[in-house]
Symmetry: C2
Subunit: 233 residues, 2 copies
């Protein structure tokens, strides 16, 4: 057998994904059983089990108790995105980072915001708007709400010299979050800040992070026209 | 020690990421050395090493040969996206999938396309345009080029009954790919197909897949206004 030995479930998973993408294991087709794969890979059967379980959770494999494991009829592709702090992203492009605070106030948020953050509908939150610039050119608009019951130190910070994006990284722990990507038409306010035509298509990231059951912050990042987020497949 | 034992590098990595997000290991701070972590986690030092190496590759940790391992000053967030076949995505939303072929021809592509696919600038490729519908409503426009030197069987397929998106999954192996997400203003053609106003902001996925050194296909998917791609953090 020419297959090298696999020491951990991650490498078994990588090899299984390779075979699926290469159609050596075709969509809808039954794959070898765990015992045979463990022998082929020179690893424990539990290692194979862990790898196949992870692929089943992503909808790439289809496992049936009696009928064995098949490649899903429509196996999905998987991509991992790295989402850096704005300043770091801009500096990694070789550009000079710039930052301008536009607005900072404690206020009761719109009902959609308090609902998304699971805060009471009349609980005031800290609202911060700022512009990130790359070599002097508008790069992204940040519109953020901070739950100051969870991060009271934010009330002491004026966000004049450091963005909330970066400050929170150092001061606000979180356990998990939700992120959504979409396209938004620039309103007149957005267009004025980003120096782009009104109605321009803006790549947008919405993110809510949580510390256990309490929301930490909700942010919308609106990127200037032409922005692309890239990764490998 | 209350820490449960960790059997594989993936679970060590998950615990390290949890500590970084929870700021138990703060940005810029030195983390314990591998031997101490291996003892705490009840696993081999090589398992700890593999986990920290993976986090360093993502820019989350900063490893220096002599100076030890620190949390990056600006640790990035990581998100995993699952990108299903269009029909599967629509059916999973509980909607009825629909498909309309708009165009199919073999032609020499624009120079930007042949460059992105690393095909010769005068080599004809198969060009397919189609509309995906959810319960009768336009959902996404697919604009695709297929390298028929790599996938000659595509020349025999009329793509009237099955989308190239789904057909390729079953007939065209690939080894890797690149994917980019952006926002595009609807041209008059796009607006007419998607039944949306001209200039509307469209969430867009561009993807090129490769079989070794040869490109397989290049596709642009333009989603109807309001589309969001979501995942956990």
């Amino acid at each position: 057998m020419s297959t090298p030995s696999f020491r951990n479930w991650q490498s078994v998973q990588d090899e299984a994904l390779r075979r699926i993408h290469a159609r050596e294991w075709a969509p809808g087709e039954l794959i070898p059983n765990e015992a045979d794969l463990a022998e082929e890979f020179g690893c424990a059967r539990s290692t194979v089990n862990r790898a196949l379980r992870s692929l089943a959770e992503s909808g790439i494999l289809d496992r049936r108790r009696k009928a064995g494991t098949r490649v899903a009829a429509q196996p999905a592709a998987r991509a991992t995105l790295t989402i850096p702090v704005m300043r770091h992203e801009i500096e990694e492009r070789g550009e000079t980072y710039g930052y301008q605070l536009a607005y900072r106030a404690t206020q009761v948020p719109p009902i959609t915001t308090s609902a998304a953050m699971a805060t009471g509908s009349r609980v005031p939150l800290l609202h911060v708007r700022a512009l990130h610039l790359a070599s002097g050119t508008p790069y992204a608009l940040e519109d953020r709400w901070i739950n100051t019951e969870v991060v009271p130190a934010a009330l002491e910070e004026d966000f004049e010299a450091i963005s909330a994006n970066e400050w929170l990284l150092h001061h606000a722990p979180y356990t998990h979050g939700e992120i959504a990507f979409s396209a938004v038409s620039a309103s007149d306010d957005m267009a004025e800040a980003l120096l782009c035509p009104e109605g321009a298509a803006l790549f947008t990231i919405d993110r809510v992070t949580w510390d256990g059951a309490a929301s930490v912050t909700k942010v919308r990042l609106l990127f200037a026209p032409g922005y692309q987020m890239r990764t490998g497949l």
